[in-house]
Amino acid sequence: MDPYEFLTRARTFHSVGRPEEALNEVRRGLASHPEDPGLLLYAAICATDMDDHAAALDYAKSLVGIAPDWSMAHYQLAVVYLQMKKLKEAEESVRYSIQLDPESDDAWAALSIILSRRSKHKESLEAAETALAIDADNTTALNSRAHALGMLGRKVEAMDAAKMAARQLPDDTNTHQILGWTALRSGRVDEAMQSFKEALRLDPNDDDAREGLLEALRGRFWPYRILLSYYFWISRFGTQVRWAIVIAIMIVPRVLRGVSERNPALGPFLLPIAALFVIFIWTQWFLAPLINVSLLFHKLGRYALTKGQTANALCILVLLAGTLVMGAGLLLAGKSTGTAGLLAGLGVLALFCLGGLGTYSKTEGLLKWGSVVVLTIFELIQLVVFLLGMFGTVDR
């Protein structure tokens, strides 16, 4: 058989959603034609689709070695790097591919995605527009353009672009997901929710859309919407600037307090602002995990939470209920309010820990088991305090 026949069969397997079989077919072809660029390219594509990064990289690299002047080879290598989140290498490869063939809309679209991941949204927008100038229907570029506009804060244009993309690509999960995020950025929570639901209907395993749905559900509470606008605003900057902003916000209340101590006359103006900053910082700390508790009772929210988030929310729920029941018990039994206060204080401390876990833990395992451990420790302490308060001699 000549390579073309293997390739045809592989393509067919691939197009009916069987990348494993497609790769087998390509491998069979490569056994007799080990240096066929078409087969190598397809091998890299299939391995990429199977998330087999190591194999994909192998194939793509040998392809570049065999056909160094073929723009597709460099493009595919860039796609593999992009999937491996090696953004610098990806950008290098895709730029080389564009040098070889400046008319490839796919390469420009890939460049747009890579730049967006590197938080270079202005350049990303330009690359997307170049791709669209070559082919106005390029799916990736349409999506990436809408995304870039949103990230640049050009809300109206972003919304137009995202809606246009959704009309053009009604079956594309990504498009609906981007429309969702764009709507969320403009504060249109209901529209965002609809778009995320549509994205999830098309691909229920799309994690970005699930996260978007979660944010939209939380965004139904206005304090969280303020937090969201802050998150969106800060996400426009590069990592270093982001850190600088976060640290600045932490420092501002202290500076304000220091200034007002030295100039007591300014106190009445500066201290409320400092208080607002402090509230804002604490809100960031546990608002999302607290809202997650209410999502436990929401039809879709329940499923939008990850397992770790669900565990965390359940722990917070148990903590709140436990604190409330024990505190109420003490008060109703006419015991000292001091013990009830101690219980409440312990509850707030536990909430602080659980909230921190819920907001900042990076892994599901830490979130789940960390929450369980924190809850157990605090509930035990609370129980001891409660029992001592009820039956012990600590009553004064």
Binding site: T8, R9, T12, F13, S15, V16, G17, R18, E21, D171, K197, L200, R201, L202, P204, N205, L300, Y303
Partner: protein, 422 residues
């Protein structure tokens, strides 16, 4: 090649009631030609050409028949006509099915199940077209372990009306239709399909993934049409399409229009636009029901969907027992083993049994004496065998939550809730 004259007679009788069935007429013509009745074959070919003057396969048959009948001038006339129409070089399916040496464009999947019972029925040689055979299945639903809910639903929706023609007539229940089996891999969807065919006493025709791929590469729509024609000729016949998410893939997932055409063709074949599907039941199975084009779920096509779940404890015990049949065993408590194997698919169970047997064999080789497979082997083998169905349910859950339009996944939701996975 000798041809059974009774087959030809039967087909001709069928043609009297269905004179417009071109595929059947061409088939008769070919059989006549093979049976050295060239003049008769030519008659059938011209009959077709009277209806469709540019029919390539008919022209080819007419050419061959004229040649055999000793009329080369007429033969060259047909050939020129064919060349003028650009068909002479077309490597069409008929050609390969007419005994050419070329590789058939699609093959039947190798039979996965052995036939039980006597071979008496195999004497009546089933028809074969292009390597695809309609075979009878001796398997019955009773031989399928477990799946009682599924069997009950099948019985009510499908089997009972088919066994009782009077009732069927009374309630005007049609004898065509489709059933889509879905569920985690390795849980016996294919096995169940064969059992249904056996239960109905009908012929069984199966197309798998490789056939589908070959179909896409060849003249796809025509090939698919031929498969359905074969099923119609063999009625009552169960046409089983394994991995229907490949052949009936969501058109929105397909990039090129040629591939989408195959789905369109499948839709029109299932509707029986050109030919009557009475007596053809299309069964399909998939692990990815969410990738199946939703148009295939409309009434008249796969209007019934059945979830095939992993075997329950009783079925697991039966499957294990079946797998250990003819192997030396020592005090195996199958129900105890079955209890330890929750969420195992049928394939996982068989794998487990094999792994345990392997351990006993390795031990026997080491010690130089034959030792039977015991509970200890199973215990040890279990370390390497993990239930393969959980990841499927994880994915399926998301579809049930977000994409349950029209209650497609109600069965699945009920199961997930009963397992507290949702």
């Amino acid at each position: 090649m000798s041809v059974d004259p009774t087959v030809i007679a039967a087909l001709r009788a069928a043609l009297l009631t269905d004179p417009e069935n071109i595929a059947m007429r061409l088939h008769v013509g070919q059989l006549l030609l093979d049976g050295n009745q060239a003049a008769e074959a030519l008659k059938e070919a011209t009959e077709v050409l009277n209806r469709q003057p540019t029919h390539g396969e008919a022209l080819k048959l007419a050419e061959q028949a004229s040649e055999s009948a000793g009329d080369p001038i007429r033969a060259s006339g047909y050939r020129r006509l064919r060349e003028a129409l650009g068909m002479a070089s077309a490597q069409n399916l008929i050609e390969s099915s007419l005994g050419s040496d070329l590789e058939p464009p699609y093959r039947s999947e190798p039979m996965r199940m052995t036939h039980r019972g006597d071979d008496a029925e195999n004497d009546d040689d089933p028809e074969e077209v292009a390597g695809l055979r309609a075979v009878t299945s001796d398997l019955t639903l009773a031989q399928v372990a477990g799946m009682n809910d599924v069997k009950l639903r099948l019985e009510m929706a499908f089997l009972a009306p088919m066994r009782n023609p009077d009732l069927r007539k009374l309630y005007k229940k049609s004898l065509k239709g489709g059933l889509l089996l879905y569920g985690p891999p390795g849980c016996g969807k294919t096995f169940l399909a064969r059992a249904i065919a056996g239960e109905l006493g009908s012929k069984f025709l199966s197309i798998g993934l490789t056939d589908v791929v070959d179909m896409y590469i060849g003249e796809s729509e025509k090939n698919l049409h031929r498969v359905f024609e074969l099923a119609r000729r063999n009625k009552p016949c169960v046409l089983f399409i394994d991995e229907i998410d490949a052949l009936g893939r969501k058109r929105s997932l397909m990039r090129n229009s040629g591939e989408r055409n195959v789905v369109n063709q499948l839709l029109s074949e299932m509707d029986g636009v050109e030919a009557d599907n009475e007596g053809v039941y299309v069964l399909a199975a998939t692990n990815h029901p969410w990738d199946v084009d939703s148009a295939l779920r409309r009434p008249g096509r796969f209007d019934r969907t059945v979830l095939v779940l992993p075997p329950d404890a009783l079925a697991r015990a039966q499957i294990l027992q079946g797998a250990m049949e003819d192997r030396p065993v020592n005090q195996l408590d199958y129900s105890k083993l079955a209890d330890q194997a929750e969420d195992f698919s049928g394939a996982d169970l068989v794998h487990w049994a094999e792994a345990a047997s392997e351990l006993a064999m390795a031990d026997s080789i080491r010690k130089g004496t034959v030792r039977s497979v015991d509970m200890g082997d199973f215990k040890q083998a279990k370390k390497d065998v993990k239930p393969s169905t959980r990841p499927w349910f994880e994915t399926a859950k998301n579809f049930a939550v977000y994409a349950n339009e029209g209650g497609t996944y109600d069965d699945l939701i009920a199961y997930l809730k009963s397992r507290r996975w949702m």
